[in-house]
């Protein structure tokens, strides 16, 4: 603003209805400013191009569209899944059975080698969820007979682990023939204290979420016996 006059902006705002006592006092004594107000107070002639000046059809929708877009983004942001506190590591797929052999003071994982009398065998299970475990076994001497019954050696629940070890171990005897074990894994306990493996286990395996693993653990004595027979 010059010392003498209000700015043109202030005068223009005053002319369009703005209230400003300081400007009112000024224009009362200023011919230049009154002249400006008179000039801009003259109604203009409407030009020929004016009817062609039209608002953009969707101009009014811009804020609405923007608000909607922000709303959707906020919704997506708020509903995004929380990241896990720590990465989940677990078993995938059907359970896996691992045999651990203790010979003397050394524990190794069984890899189809011959077992020795007095070896101790323990089972480890890799499970994806809490599972009921039943282990059946049949005496080596009776295993060869058709319809031999297997006795329940272990029954209990196991939690997922990598692997979860049974709290039971079996010692290998010196009887001829391999040791045979059947491990039944399922969502519920089995009632039968005995079963006939060839007959019953195939049906058990058909139950939902039930797995049957048959283990044949060859023994050195049985191999030696076979050699003697030849």
């Amino acid at each position: 603003m010059t010392p003498e006059h209000p700015s043109f902006l202030a005068l223009d705002r005053f002319a369009t209805g703005g209230s400003n006592p300081a400007i009112e006092r000024h224009i009362a004594g200023c011919g230049d400013c009154r002249a400006h107000l008179r000039a801009i107070g003259q109604p203009p002639t409407l030009p020929a191009w004016l009817p062609t000046a039209r608002p953009r059809p969707l101009a009014g929708w811009r804020p609405v569209a923007l608000a909607l877009m922000l709303g959707v983004l906020a919704l997506v942001w708020l509903r995004r899944p929380d990241p896990p506190a720590q990465p989940y590591i677990g078993a995938k797929g059907p359970p896996a059975v691992t045999v651990f052999v203790k010979r003397g003071e050394q524990v190794t994982r069984w890899r189809d080698e011959l077992l020795q009398p007095a070896d101790t065998v323990r089972l480890g299970l890799t499970l994806a969820e809490r599972t009921h475990v039943t282990v059946y076994g049949v005496a080596a001497a009776a295993a060869a007979a058709d319809g031999a019954r297997a006795e329940r050696l272990y029954a209990g629940w196991l939690d997922p682990g990598a692997p979860a070890l049974l709290d039971r171990a079996w010692t290998i005897d010196d009887a001829p023939g391999p040791e045979r074990l059947w491990i039944v894994l399922g969502p519920a306990p089995l009632e039968a204290p005995q079963l006939v493996p060839d007959r019953d286990l195939s049906w058990l395996a058909l139950r939902p979420a039930t797995y049957v693993e048959a283990l044949v653990l060859p023994k050195a004595s049985s191999e030696a016996g076979s050699d003697d027979d030849r």
């Binding site: 603003m1 700015s7 369009t16 000039a39 801009i40 203009p44 000046a53």
Partner: protein, 155 residues
């Protein structure tokens, strides 16, 4: 009377007066038309007069700068610009003369602030409102304009 016609009747006179102060009668009507068409298409059309006038000042000033710079580049007869006679403020003629010579050299923002302050007589606060910046920035831009103007005038 439509809203557009009412706006034209209300704002065209002050808009034309501003364009004449900035760039002279020869091109004032072109800038008035271009500014008003943009105004109709903007959201400022339905706003309160204070807001609408600020919008018109801002856009008209920038369009006038485009013209001044183009004219300067084309070396057309700069002196064809006529002063706005009785509506002028003290010092505005000199400012306009300087502006014509430095239009192509000074940054646009500096020219914008110089027009608003030196020709339209806006205070620093009013210029800051129109340019959407701080008063401190207005003062800095004016100093920059004066530095460029001094160099141009000296050469």
């Amino acid at each position: 009377m439509s809203e557009i016609e009412a706006a034209y009747r209300r704002y065209q006179p002050l808009l034309r007066a501003k364009c004449m102060r900035m760039i002279g009668e020869a091109e004032a009507d072109d800038i008035v038309q271009e500014t008003f068409v943009r105004f109709v298409r903007s959201r400022a059309l339905g706003r309160a007069p204070d807001v609408a006038i600020a919008w018109l000042y801002r856009v008209a000033t920038r369009l006038a700068i485009d013209r001044l710079r183009a004219r300067s580049r084309q070396q057309r007869a700069l002196d064809a610009i006529q002063p706005a006679s009785t509506l002028d403020r003290r010092g505005a003629n000199e400012a306009r003369s300087v502006l014509r010579r430095v239009a192509a050299r000074a940054p646009r923002r500096c020219i914008e602030v110089a027009i608003l302050h030196r020709i339209d007589g806006l205070t620093h606060a009013e210029a800051a409102e129109i340019c959407r910046c701080s008063e401190r920035t207005v003062r800095r831009l004016l100093r920059r304009f004066d530095e460029v103007a001094a160099r141009v005038m000296a050469s």
